[in-house]
Amino acid sequence: MSMIELERRDPPGAARAAMMLQRAHWAAETFARYDRTRVVRILDAVAEAAEAHAERYAEEAVAETGMGVVEHKVLKNRMLSRGLWDHYRDHDFVSPRIDHDAKILELPRPAGVIFALTPVTNPVATVYFKVMLALMTRNAIVVSPHPGAKHVCADAVRMLSDAAVRAGAPDGCIQIVEEPSIPLIEALMTDPTTDVVVATGGGAVVRAAYRSGNPALGVGPGNVPSFVDATADIAAAARHIIDSKSFDHSILCTNESVVIVEEEVADQLERELRKHGGHIVDASEVEQVREHLFPNGHMRLDLIGKSALELAEAAQLKVPANTRVLIAPFSLVVPEEPLAHEKLFPLLGLVRVPNTRAGISAAQAMLRITGAGHSASIHSRSARTIMAYGAAVKVLRVSVNVGNSLGSAGALTNLSPTMTIGTGFYGRSSVGENLEPRHLINLMRVAYNADASVPFDDFTGLEPWVLEAAATPIAAPVEHAPAAPETDLLREEIRKVILEELKELTRQ
């Protein structure tokens, strides 16, 4: 305890943290001049290092936060390192782009300094994701982890930074706020040196990011309805739902919240859900679930990311030992019904509806409560229903006949793999897609007179930032040397391994 009462005007650490942004700014200035070859070399190294640490950080994240499942976190860490780089390796966010027909030359310009907030629920996967995106786009990044996961995140960021710098990245392009606090985060978000805030986390943090006065990419919370209509393959639907809801103890924002099922197939679905480890709570016990898991109507934060068995214990329920998901039936999707809200643990609501129209209405009602702009899922074989569902429900992605956790996050669909789900205008966000590298650059366009008589210049072989003619010939922009066949094979191999593991995990 200090002998002197200090009157503090700035939050502790603010000056030091502002200096991190300044250092990042210097690094970004240098990074912006890197060519694609150097960027690829850095990402090859970072993806490898990140993947190599996937297990260790999965264990440490679970140990530090008490949330989630180690093996699922391993998978996410791999997905957001090697998997992410495989997805984007052939994309170029660096080199000049030439459009001869339009007579426009485009130069990718990085944002500069990214201030990235990462959540406690998916700590390391989100750190991996944002750092990789920053590197792909030649941005510097300062990561501010959720205080509940600060140790593992700091370690991961230092590891990534070391790997990047060893591979030639500019010193200081990846940094970590070691002791995050709300006043400190506010100070960093509003700092004029921050070029863009990328906020993943609770609603308050995201709103603060948008209030910061700096450009922000923030995403809102989810509350995922999963509609099973009468045309669905019920057995497959039940398997997908249970696998997805139990994945990492349901702490992804894309995890299913409520299953809405047409009455006609409801009993069949319940049977199938039970078969895969779903435990349907008896009608007489539902109130007990509300009381113990949602005291005063609010989800118990200490139960986030806990297993179904731990939830059952907390709710004083007796359940079979193989229970993976608790399922609580209720009838009305309204704001005062706690079971109709987002649930970051393996408890699923279940609502029976008489027909498709009522099912879509129930899903709409869920998104009125929370989660607008986020994601929904549907299990159906009717294109008409799927399209009507997509049109009516206020979300920006619907995953079809697949678990939503990894479906909307891009692992089991062809959506962009992401840890940051844009919720668009519905969800008061500036981005409506899964966050991608291209969101972190601007394109500077050099445009020529449109008149056909005015010729366009030949930019082939020219490198930005180089004014004097180079002594040695340099590679043409855009056209990159194709990856060696061995590399392609290796990556295909790794992709297969990841897919196999995914299948394995979602089958259990």
Binding site: M3, I4, E5, L6, E7, R9, D10, A15, R16, M19, M20, Q22, R23, H25, W26, A27, E29, T30, D171, G172
Partner: protein, 430 residues
């Protein structure tokens, strides 16, 4: 009317007149004659404002005093907080703040360093260093470099150029030997009589225009010191505190000094302070007679608390990283300017953000200084080699400000070049 609350002046002319009348007529006139009509008013970060309201970027920093910028908010907050509990302290007694800074400082130095002795200013610290060396070796002679400058106090002034010592009859050539820089033979000649207490040397001589030590020179001096049983005293007043990309410039050469002198920047420009760090051998008088050197103001506790903050800021990895970036940017930018005026802008001496710019005229730096001033930059010529401009940017600059400094410098050097050319033409026709 310029009303500053504490005092007021009718006009800038009135201020200068009263400055001549009550303060220092020669110094006041010197700057007016040199075309630098600066009376510093507001100051913030790396900016100064003249009384007339004109903004200047400070690339002089008073020799690194404002290394962390003027009125650095962290230092203001530190000093204000310290004043809630401390004052200057009482030099007679063991002191909380002096001990804490000493411990922090020793940790940043070479492993042989043990204790810290305090002063109020760089000159006093040099005096302390000389007294310490004399006590340790029981010899009087001190060797320093020709064209050196180590301060104006009693002993320090004797080590420097005649320019400073003769005025007050303070030259003592029998005790203070000067040898040429980068000349190990001359150094050996001065030391081989084994009657020298210490060699006092700036790691890069500032007032001489930052000529860089040749590779191996400082190590050679250290070797000679060991050979002839004399002490190596490193003057880090202008080169310390991360200005060369490391906390202490001397550490880059691998030399472990016996005594190290720290001043200017350690005050943060906020509260006067200087420090002398000494080895165990040089601590002898502190054990024999701790009252040997007394200073009421030196090592004031407020100064020590500010000094600790300065040390902490300078030691941040962020700062080290940024200094390396900005040094590289200055190097590139200055080289580009040099390519335009190769016969005029003839040399760049640089180690980190310790930079000397050499021009092809005996007082070339004075011409450039004047044009820089006209273009919004304050940088000063080297007193003992006015061909060289001391170009000393801060260590917390942004890339944008570095670019702005370089833009202004390019124009000013161009204007100075034109003036030099017309001078040369006049000289030919005359």
């Amino acid at each position: 009317m310029y009303d500053y609350g504490f005092f007021s002046y009718d006009s800038k002319a009135d201020m200068l007149e009263r400055s001549r009348a009550f303060w220092n007529p020669d110094k006041t006139d010197f700057w007016q004659d040199a075309g630098i009509d600066l009376v510093i008013d507001r100051r913030e970060g790396y900016y100064l404002w003249d009384m007339a309201g004109r903004r200047l970027i400070d690339v002089h920093l008073n020799g690194g005093t404002y290394n962390l910028g003027h009125r650095n908010p962290e230092l203001i907050a530190t000093l204000e907080q310290a004043m809630q509990h401390f004052d200057m302290g009482n030099h007679h007694f063991p002191s909380l703040a002096r001990t804490a800074l000493a411990e922090a400082l020793v940790k940043t130095c070479a492993p042989n360093m043990r204790r810290v002795i305090y002063g109020a200013a760089g000159g006093e610290a040099i005096d302390i260093a000389i007294k310490t060396a004399r006590h340790t070796k029981q010899r009087r002679k001190i060797v320093s470099l020709i064209k050196a400058y180590h301060g104006h106090t009693g002993l320090a002034v004797g080590t420097g150029d005649d320019r400073f010592s003769k005025l007050f009859l303070a030259d003592h050539p029998e005790e203070f030997i000067n040898v040429p820089f980068n000349d190990l033979n001359a150094m050996e000649d001065a030391l081989k009589g084994r009657d020298v207490a210490g060699v006092l040397i700036e790691s890069i001589p500032a007032t001489y225009g930052f000529p860089l030590p040749e590779p191996g020179y400082l190590q050679g001096v250290k070797r000679l010191c060991e050979q002839y049983d004399t002490l190596y005293i490193a003057d880090e007043v202008q080169t310390g505190l991360m200005r060369t990309g490391e906390m202490w410039c001397i550490s880059k050469s691998g030399v472990e000094p016996d005594i190290m002198v720290i001043g200017k920047g350690i005050s943060g420009g906020m509260y006067p302070l200087s420090c002398v760090v000494v080895s165990e051998e040089c601590s002898a008088w502190l054990k024999e007679d701790g009252f040997g050197h007394i200073t009421t103001v030196g090592g004031s506790e407020l100064g020590c608390i500010v000094g600790m903050k300065v040390l902490e800021i300078c030691g941040r990895p962020e700062v080290r990283s940024m200094v390396h970036y900005m040094a590289e940017r200055f190097q590139q930018g200055l080289r580009q300017i040099q390519e335009i005026y190769p016969d005029w802008f003839v040399g760049i001496r640089q180690d980190g953000v310790v930079i000397g710019l050499e021009f092809n005229h005996p007082t070339g730096a004075k011409i450039v200084m004047k044009h820089l001033y006209a273009h919004g930059i304050w940088a000063i010529f080297s007193t003992l080699d006015p061909r060289v401009l001391q170009y000393k940017p801060g260590i917390l600059l942004s890339p944008e400000l570095v670019d702005e400094i370089l833009d202004r410098t390019e124009i000013a050097i161009g204007k100075a070049y034109a003036e030099w050319k017309s001078m040369s033409r006049q000289a030919v026709t005359a």
